[in-house]
Symmetry: C2
Subunit: 101 residues, 2 copies
């Protein structure tokens, strides 16, 4: 898929993945695999940005000797998803224009 088009959904995809249950980096990538392929460097960049934007909070734990950081969505994160759904409607209008012309 086109790189620019991806960019528009990456953040929200990650938020959607942790919406119903807290998750951690490696698992997010695996869970998203059927929907959207993304590399570790890309994901961790996104997670960091979402954290800075207070759309999720992090809880570091230790699991079988390894570090594991669990990400939990916040109210702002949930709002971001809702906003996206509204933006999607706008985008549908734009798509119609492209299709019809």
């Amino acid at each position: 898929m086109d790189a620019q088009l991806r960019r528009g959904v990456l953040d929200v995809c990650v938020l959607a993945t942790i919406k119903s249950e807290d998750s951690y980096g490696y698992k997010i990538i695996k869970d998203l695999r059927p929907i959207l392929e993304l590399s570790e460097s890309t994901l961790y960049t996104i997670l960091k940005r979402l954290e800075e934007g207070k759309m999720l909070v992090v809880r570091s734990t230790e699991f079988e000797g390894r570090l594991r950081k669990y990400y939990h969505i916040t109210e702002l994160g949930l709002k971001r998803i809702e906003d996206f759904k509204n933006e999607w409607k706008e985008l549908m209008g734009i798509y119609s224009f492209i299709e019809e012309v």
Copy 2:
């Protein structure tokens, strides 16, 4: 609308605008206004990129003493629009995921 989401459709919107009839910068902006607001610097950047990507060709003319550059879509440009439509289907799948979760 979210900046990232915009990016995914800007190029194709411009191509769609000149698809049925050759047009020039200032007119493209006006025609797109109801669909998508975009500044001159943004448009001319896009036009330049599309030209470099051979998705359109340019013909400079003089109109009432002023320079006017007409943009004409190429086969590659038309293909770009068709590709976008296919990518849109993929994107719909991603949206469903976001909506359902």
